[in-house]
Symmetry: C2
Subunit: 211 residues, 2 copies
DNA sequence: TCCAGATGAATGAACGCTCATTCATAGTTT
DNA sequence: AAACTATGAATGAGCGTTCATTCATCTGGA
């Protein structure tokens, strides 16, 4: 179901573009970027091979478009939700929830975002400086805000904290992708946040910097 | 420098095998698995194309061998170090330190392990059930031991905690791989552990489960 | 309403290039 | 000279991309 995203009617061209993107997601997820064949994507989109090139510049551009399209949607949603909230911890909760929900809802997309777009360093760098960078920057802002307000510890490096949070969520999604019997991804939201907030060592044992 | 790993002399055959593995690491890291050409690996190993097939069953087997070889070495070292220690927190520290040091020492290897071996789900599943699974299992044991002894919180799911720790380390390595000006990877060991142990929220704010 | 002509989106067979792999030959050791 | 190891040019399958052709739709004159 392509359905209702921004509640606006799609032109025939936009509709076909989306059909191709959707097909690309399925095929990239099933076969992997390099093994996936343009012919198969065309077949899945119910479109001729050549048509792909009327909508996208080539295979690589198609993959990039999948990524950009998905992240743009997600970031827009995120920004909208953030406006309603003040408490940094609430913001963090919502961010993690949306992240897990968005990917939990669409395994194929999750696979493409998590695995297929990480092939070459060059490619990753492109992504990092684009939409992914924007996403990380949003997360970083939340952490910073929490530290400034005293809701979060001030004695951990902001960038490192951002890194740990993102890494934890990211890895959780990865493990869910590899699991034989997946279950609901967003069920981990609560426990994950608890661990990120409180750490693994009970308070009474906390000392200065370890190591 | 291939150098002194198990302090044993290598047969000529073992030596050439290692030379090929090393070359494969460099070329896979530089070009990515799919773009890398066997010819280039042969050239880098100073060996003819056909020779590769006297030592490995093909391109995919070569990538898998890089992974297995590196992880086997690492796991052996880890097990040796663990024997000397009792305190779970010390074990965790050492594990994180060795992880960061091993990859920090060899960027090309890090790149192959982090990026190139994650291409297809099928491939990842193979890895997860092999050496990578063994590594995760070691980490899981440490967390479990700490929880049983009361050194770590018992109220977080063991698997999830393992996941968060691994995800955090893994993502840290990823960001280091993408950085323009890398710096020393193991410098983050202390801060990373601190954050994993204490979380991001000060003790006085801790409550029951969030969400 | 009907039709001739114009438009450009869609098609898919064919092209051309890129490698992974092979194997006939050459070299080296015992 | 036999047995083992290495070589690297040749092979051929696979696949991204192109482009000559088709076809559905639109236009406007009768």
């Amino acid at each position: 179901m392509p359905g209702s995203d921004s509640a606006r009617k799609l032109t025939p061209r936009e509709f076909k573009r989306m059909k191709i993107l959707r097909a690309a997601i399925e095929v990239f997820a099933r076969d992997g970027y390099f093994s996936a064949r343009m012919t198969d994507i065309a077949k899945a989109a119910d479109v001729a091979d050549g048509t792909l090139y009327l909508y996208f510049d080539g295979k690589e551009h198609l993959l990039l478009s999948v990524f950009d399209d998905a992240l743009e949607r997600f970031i827009d949603q995120l920004k909208r939700e953030m406006k309603r909230l003040d408490d940094p911890l609430d913001k963090l909760k919502v961010m993690v929830r949306l992240h897990l929900e968005a990917l939990g809802r669409d395994r194929a997309l999750a696979h493409v975002l998590q695995i297929e777009t990480r092939h070459s360093r060059k490619f990753m760098q492109l992504l990092s400086r684009g939409k992914l960078g924007e996403y990380l920057s949003l997360l970083n802002d939340i952490v910073k805000e929490g530290q400034d307000s005293g809701d979060f510890r001030g004695d951990v490096n902001t960038g490192l904290a951002t890194n740990v949070i993102f890494g934890a969520v990211d890895e959780l999604v990865n493990r869910w992708l590899l699991a034989d019997e997946p279950g609901d991804l967003s069920q981990y939201q609560g426990p994950l946040l608890k661990m990120l907030c409180q750490g693994i060592v009970p308070c009474e044992f906390h000392e200065g910097a370890p190591g």
